[in-house]
Amino acid sequence: MILSPRVRKLREQSLNAVEKLSPERALLMTQFYRSDEARDLSAPVKRAKAFEYLLKKKKLYIGEGELIVGERGPAPKETSTYPEISLHSLKDLEILNSREKVSFKVDDEVKKIYEKEIIPFWKGKSNRDRIMSLMTPEWHNAYNAGVFTEFQEQRAPGHTVLGYKMFKTGFLKLKEEISQSISKLDYYTDTQAYEKYEELSAMNIACDAIIMYANRYADELEQLAKGERDKLRKGELKKMAAVCRKVPANAPENVHEMLQHYWFIHQGVIIELNPWDSFNPGRFDQHLYPVYKKEKEMGTLTDEELFDLLGCFWVKFNNHPAPPKIGVTASESSTYTDFCLINLGGVKPDGTDAVNEISYILLDVIREMRILQPSSMVQISRKNPDRYIHKALEIIRTGFGQPSCFNTEAIIQEMLRQGKNIIDARNGGASGCVETGAFGTEAYWLTGYFNLPKVLELTLNNGFDKRTNTQVGLKTGHAKDYESFDDLMNAFKAQVNFLIDIKIRGNNVIEKTFATWLPVPFLSLLVEDCIKNGKDYNNGGARYNTSYIQGVGLGSITDMLTSIRYNIYDKRRFKWNNLIEAADADFNGFEHIQHDLIYDTPKYGNDDDYADQHAVAVFEIFYDAVNGRPDSRGGIHRINMLPTTSHVYFGSVIGATPDGRKAKKPLSEGISPSQGVDKQGPTSVIKSASKIDHLRTGGTLLNQKFAPQFFEDEESYNCLTALIRSYFALDGHHIQFNVVNAKTLREAQKYPELHRDLIVRVAGYSDYFNDLGEDLQNEIILRTEHEEA
C-alpha cells in the first residue's frame, strides 16, 4: 500500500497544523449557561441541551479532499476548552502559549474573550474549583507532596471504548430503546423513576442533537457539491452528503458509512466533555471486517478506495490533540496524544482466532501513515498466527513504538476475575495506555497515579515530607527506628493503607460531582446498559464500573527496598546513619556509597529472587489496600501499573534514594526495571516482571528497549515472537518495544528541527521525541545507550 496524493496531503496538513486554543466551545457553553433556556433544568437535561446548543452553533469544517468530515474545533488542531470542568486563567493561557513542550498557541483575541466572557462567568464555578474545595486538608497535603495525582481535576472521566453494538445500530434505533425504557419506568416501586425519566429524556435530546449535527454537514456538503466544478470532487461531495444523511441516524452498511458513523460518535463524545483517552473504536478490525467483506463480494470498493478512506479517517485522529492540560495534570500526562488505542487481533466472541484480512490491512495503514494518533496495538492470542506478529514486528522495527503488544488471554482472565461474562470479556481489550476494559459495556475510570517510592520515603521519615514541610503520612517512626526489615515493611504497609484511604475518600466525592453536576447523556447512549438502567455513564449506568488507582515506580521501590535489606539488615554494610547522611547530601562526597548502591547491590529485572521478592511484596500491599474497595458508582476500586509520564513528575518530588538514585531523577516506569540496571537481557527482565500477578490487575506496562539488530532476519523475528509468547505464557499483560539508537536520539536533541517525525515509545504510548521534556529525552537516551552496550 502507498498513500494516495490525497491522503499524503491531508497527513502533511495535519502534521504541519499548529496546536491552537479555540475559544469557540467555551464561548458557546457560556452563552448557553447564561441563557434563559438553561434555567430550571435538571442536570442531565441541561447538559443535553448544552450539547445540542454546541452542535447547532459550532462551525463546520470540510477540508479540501477530505472524505470523512467533522472536527471538534473550527479547524484541525484548533482545540476546545471546557470551562465547566476546569477554567484556564490568563496566566494559564500564557503558560500554554509559551511553554516549550506541548504548547498551544493562544491569540490575543482569545485572551480577550477569556478575560471578558469566559473567566468572569466561570470563576469559582468550574468542577475543578468544586473538587478542590471539597477535598480534606489530608488530601491536599498528600496531593501537594506528590503522593498521588487526581485524574478528574482537569478532565472528565471517560476511559471507555465503543463496543459491537454501536457499529450495528443508529441513533434512531436508540431513540426507540429510550422510549421503551421510559415506558417501562415503574413509579410505584422504583424511587428513582423520576431521575431516570430526566436522564432518559436527556439521552433522547442527545440523539436528536447528533442527528441534527450530521444533517448540518449533509446540507453543507450538498451546497458545496452544487458549486464544485471538479466533476470527481463533486461526486465525492454528493456521496459524502448522502452518507451524513444516513449515519449516525441509521446503522452503517458499508465501509465509508461506518467510518463516518464512528467519527460522528467520536466527535459527540469529545465535544460533550473532555473525557480521558478521548474515545476509541476499539476492536476496529472486527467491526470493519463484515462490511468490508460484503463490499468486496459486491465489488463496490476497490483497495485504493479503501486505503483512501482509512487514510482520511486516520488523519482525523491526528487532528485532535488532547485538550490543554496544566499543572500536575500536564506533568503526569505531558503529551498531545489523547490515547485513542486501536485494537487489532485477539479472539472473536466465540473464542476463535480473530485475525482477519482487515487486521493486516490496518497494519499497513499504521505503517504507511506513521503518525502520532491514533495509537495502535496488537492483541496477541495464542490462537493468532505468527505471521500476524511478524507483520507487527516489522512496523515496530522501524522504531516508532507502535503497535504495542497485548496478551489477549491475560486480558480475558483479568476481566473474568472481575466478574464479567465471557462474551463481554472476549469483546474487550486494552485502551488508553494498557488498561483492560470490556468494550461498549464498562466505565473503567483511572483516578490517579500513586507514587509508591514516595510512600517509602515518607515511611523512612516518620510520615513527614521535607520538601513541602508537612506531615503527610502516619508517624510510624524514622528509618533508624526500624529494627528489622519486617518492621520497615509493616510501617510501609500502614502508610500505604493510610494514604490510599485518603485517595479513595477523595475519589468517592469527586466521582459524585460528575454524577451530580456533569452527567454525559451522549456518552451514556454508547455504553450499555445506561439506556436500560436509565442511568448516566457518570452515575454508574454502565454494565460494569471500575475505578483504578495506578501504581507507579515498581522497579524503583523494589531496588530501594532490596538495597535496604541487603546493605543495612542482611550484609550490614552500612548503618542507617551512613545511608541517610549520604542521601541527604544527594551523594555528593559520598560517591563511594552511591557506587556500592548502584553497582554492588541486587536489582530488579535480573530474574534474581532476592530483589524481585520486594516487587511482589509491594504489589501485594498495594493490591490489598485498593482492590475490592467500593467506588461511588456501585463499582469497585482496582489497581493497574502504568505511569504515562508521571514517573518523571513523581521522581521530581523525591530526594536521593537508597538505590543510589539522585534526588529529583525520574523513577522507573510501569513495571520495567530502573533505567540501566537490567544486565541479563530481555528474558531476565520478563522473568522478573512476571513475578507479580498480572491477572489481578487491570493492566501493567513493560517497556523493553531493543537495538535494531535484534530485528535483522527471519530467525530474529521468530525469536522475538517466541519472546512475546513466552511473556504472555507467564501471564504478562503487555510489552512494548523501543527500537532506536542513541546516536539518532542525541542528534534529534541537538537538531530538533531535523527530526520532527521522530517518534519514540515513552510509556504506554508513543510521542514525538521533540515534544518530550529534556529530562525525559535524556532518560530515553540513557536507556537506549544501555541497550546498545
Binding site: 563511594h592 557506587h595 530467525e715
Partner: protein, 266 residues
C-alpha cells in the same frame, strides 16, 4: 566437577536454533588473530579491571573473568530460561574459548542437559582429540564447526595450530549424522581471496552430507578490539576493515552454489 565459564549469555539467538543460553567456556588451544573473545583464551580465571562511573567519578573494580560452575548450576540457569527455550524450540550452546578443552565437564554437562530435555549445541574449533568428539557426539544435537583456512601453513600462521586434526574431526562429525553448521569467519587478507574461496567451495561440495545444514559466514568485526586492552593482549588486526555488506552478500551467493543453505551471521 566444575567447568570454567567466562560468560553466560541469555537470549542468545545466533548460536543455533531458537532462543538459547550460551555458555562461553574459558581456555582455547588456538589463538586466532581476529578472535573477538580474547577473554576466552587463557584456561585460568583472570582478574580484569572494570571502570564503573558514578556521575563524574570513576571507580576501578577488579573483577574475575571466569567462574567455576557445577553441572547442576548449568541446569538451574537453563530451568530459569525454560519458557523461552520451549516457546522457540531453542536450547543450550557450549561455546568458548574451546569447550572441548574442558571435555570431561562438557560431557557431563551435555548429558545432564539431554536428560533434562534440552536441545544441545557445541560450538567448536574442531581442535581436540578425535576420541573426545566421539564421546560427546551422542549427547550433542548440533555442532557449530569452525572452518578457518584449508591451507595448513596459513592456518598455522594465523591460529597457531595446524588444521589436520580439525579437518579430520570435521569429517568424523559429518559422518556421525549429527546436524552441523559450518562457520567460516570472513577475515580480509587471511582467507577471503578468490583462490581460497574456490577451494573452500569445492571442499564443502566434496564433504557435503545431508546433515550439513548450513554455512554461516561470520564477517570479521572489531567489537572485541577494546577487550584486548583490558586483557593486556596485543591486538594484531589494526588496519583490517570489516567486509562490507555488499561483499558479504556476494559471498553468500557464491557459497549458495554448493546447494547448502547460507547465512550471514550465526
Amino acid at each position: 566437577m566444575k567447568g570454567l565459564i567466562f560468560s553466560v549469555k541469555r537470549y542468545s539467538i545466533h548460536d543455533g536454533p531458537g532462543i538459547r543460553v550460551t555458555f562461553f567456556m574459558k581456555g582455547c588451544p588456538l589463538s586466532c588473530w581476529w578472535c573477538h573473545n580474547p577473554e576466552g583464551l587463557n584456561p585460568q580465571p583472570e582478574i580484569v579491571e572494570m571502570t564503573e562511573k558514578v556521575g563524574d567519578k570513576e571507580f576501578i573494580k577488579k573483577e574475575e573473568a571466569g567462574s567455576y560452575y557445577a553441572v547442576n548450576e548449568i541446569i538451574d540457569i537453563l530451568e530459569k530460561e525454560r519458557i523461552f527455550i520451549s516457546q522457540s524450540n531453542g536450547g543450550v550452546t557450549f561455546s568458548g574459548g574451546e569447550p572441548m578443552l574442558q571435555q570431561e565437564f562438557l560431557l557431563e554437562a551435555l548429558k545432564a542437559c539431554k536428560a533434562n530435555g534440552y536441545h544441545t549445541a557445541v560450538d567448536t574449533s574442531g581442535y581436540s582429540q578425535i576420541e573426545n568428539y566421539k564421546t560427546i557426539i551422542p549427547y550433542t544435537d548440533l555442532f557449530l564447526f569452525d572452518l578457518k583456512h584449508l591451507d595448513d601453513a596459513k592456518h598455522y600462521q594465523f591460529t597457531s595450530v595446524s588444521n589436520t586434526l580439525i579437518l579430520r574431526n570435521f569429517k568424523l562429525i559429518l559422518d556421525s549424522g549429527k546436524d552441523t553448521h559450518v562457520r567460516i569467519p570472513i577475515v580480509p587478507g587471511f582467507n577471503d581471496d578468490r583462490e581460497h574461496l574456490n577451494e573452500l567451495k569445492s571442499f564443502l561440495l566434496k564433504v557435503k552430507t545431508e546433515n550439513l545444514k548450513k554455512i554461516c559466514l561470520l564477517p570479521y568485526h572489531k567489537i572485541g578490539a577494546s577487550k584486548y586492552k583490558r586483557f593486556k593482549i596485543p591486538y594484531r588486526m589494526d588496519g583490517v576493515k570489516p567486509p562490507s555488506r555488499e561483499r558479504m552478500n556476494e559471498l553468500k551467493n557464491f557459497f549458495s552454489e554448493t546447494g547448502i543453505k547460507v547465512k550471514i551471521g550465526g
